[in-house]
Symmetry: C2
DNA sequence: CGACGGATTGAAGCACCTCAACGGGAGTGG
DNA sequence: CCACTCCCGTTGAGGTGCTTCAATCCGTCG
């Protein structure tokens, strides 16, 4: 996150957020202990399995969420089944940036996911009493907007090779494998990658294979890779 | 704008914003007379001619702007000259949604444009004292984010015909010609349309010609058109 | 083991791009 | 007023990058 809170004070051992792994990243991070406790008590922790729908586009936007574990995708379907993924939500990300009555995108779990769920009405009231939270939400929205516009450049003007290279670099910054800092996991399917990059799965597969053949990356398994020549990959990503 | 202020009280005749045509649309709309006066006195009115650069990507984000007249484009260039336009700014729109130090996109005047210019530091201080303004900025950012994500669907998954149809419908809602409600102006060049839709100008031209040949639209001049069959155009836009 | 689903690879097609020529309105100068 | 030019837009012909369709591979799970 762009402007992440740092040096948060430790919470009491009985605080509901004591064990939260993403407190520094999440919007909640700007709240001090008592306010955070009141905030968290306003909403339960919910869990979704891979493939589950968290919110459906056109649903009433009755709740907002903070993702603590897992991975979500934001997507939209055209009438004939074509799908575009507008973005992925990682732990610490906020789901529910809108002032509209309905959600504009569907949010689904790409991996088993845990979220803090807050009724929107209550959330809005809480914001009104905590300017720091409102400010943080604005920062998050501004950051998401910049990311979405950057993705417009990718979808509008980049070649398949450039899209894949950009994507792999993004993943490398976000999805370090448990097996080591040099290795990165693909946390989503090729179909999800394709729908995020505006390509077909066959093209995604071919481009990854080509990067492997060119010794720019190495596939350590079907779900993980290692960057061999980062400089070359960055050149490819830029065009 | 999503949550536009309504029923604004009249301003005193000597108020600097008395003649503002976009007060209801702009972020300033949430300020009452005295606060608005203090706000406006913090920043001059500036003017740019067609083609002028208002802010350059990677420039220090030292100012923010509110567009009162004209049209801007937000764009980004790849090293080899490929360009993507991330969006257009119409009167009432706000320029400067970011918490970063530098701008991420270049903003240029597509038509002669007038803006209210505010030093960012001063603007931030003003926000801190006016929660309604902060809230409005969040609403604007959320709205822009939804629009950008909608554009991701267009760039990632729609065909050239669908892109053009979507674009014409958007224009029709935004750019009524002075010659009448039924007629819509193209306020930008074919090159700008192409770079916004991720197409080449030849493709834009061909698709517009095809819609004309199919009697879905009518070209009333090279810079304006009329929708003949809106239902058909909407079908085409959706796929 | 066999079956299944996701991923890869191959071959052919097509939507859009590239390159090139042409058209027409606006501005300029005679 | 016309001739000229310039710029933007349009139209045509051929090329190509990604898609489509299809077959095969491979890890997982019963």
């Amino acid at each position: 996150m762009a402007s992440r809170a740092v040096n948060l004070p430790d919470l009491e051992h009985d605080h509901p957020c004591f064990d939260c792994a993403v407190r520094e990243l999440a919007v909640c991070g700007v709240l001090e202990s008592a306010a955070l406790r009141a905030f968290k008590e306003g909403g339960p922790t919910v869990h979704y399995d891979t493939g589950d729908t968290v919110v459906f586009e056109a649903d009433q936007a009755a709740n907002v969420y903070s993702l603590t574990h897992g991975l979500l995708r934001l997507s939209k379907l055209l009438p004939d089944g074509r799908r575009q993924i507008a973005g992925f939500l990682f732990p610490g990300d906020f789901l529910g940036i809108t002032m509209e009555e309905e959600h504009a995108f569907t949010a689904e779990a790409v991996a088993p996911s845990t979220l803090c769920k807050f009724p929107r009405r209550q959330f809005d009231e809480f914001i009104a009493r905590h300017p720091a939270l409102e400010r943080r939400l604005y920062a998050v929205a501004a950051h998401e907007l910049a990311a979405a516009r950057q993705q417009l450049v990718l979808l509008g003007r980049k070649t398949a090779t450039e899209r894949i290279a950009s994507f792999l670099l993004m993943l490398a910054g976000r999805c370090q494998s448990v097996r080591g800092i040099e290795e990165t996991d693909f946390p989503m399917s090729r179909a999800d990658i394709a729908d995020y990059l505006g390509l077909r799965i066959e093209t995604v597969s071919r481009e990854i294979s080509a990067l492997k053949a060119a010794r720019v990356i190495q596939l350590t398994s079907r779900q993980s890779f290692r960057i061999i020549d980062r400089e070359r990959l960055e050149q490819l990503a830029e065009g």
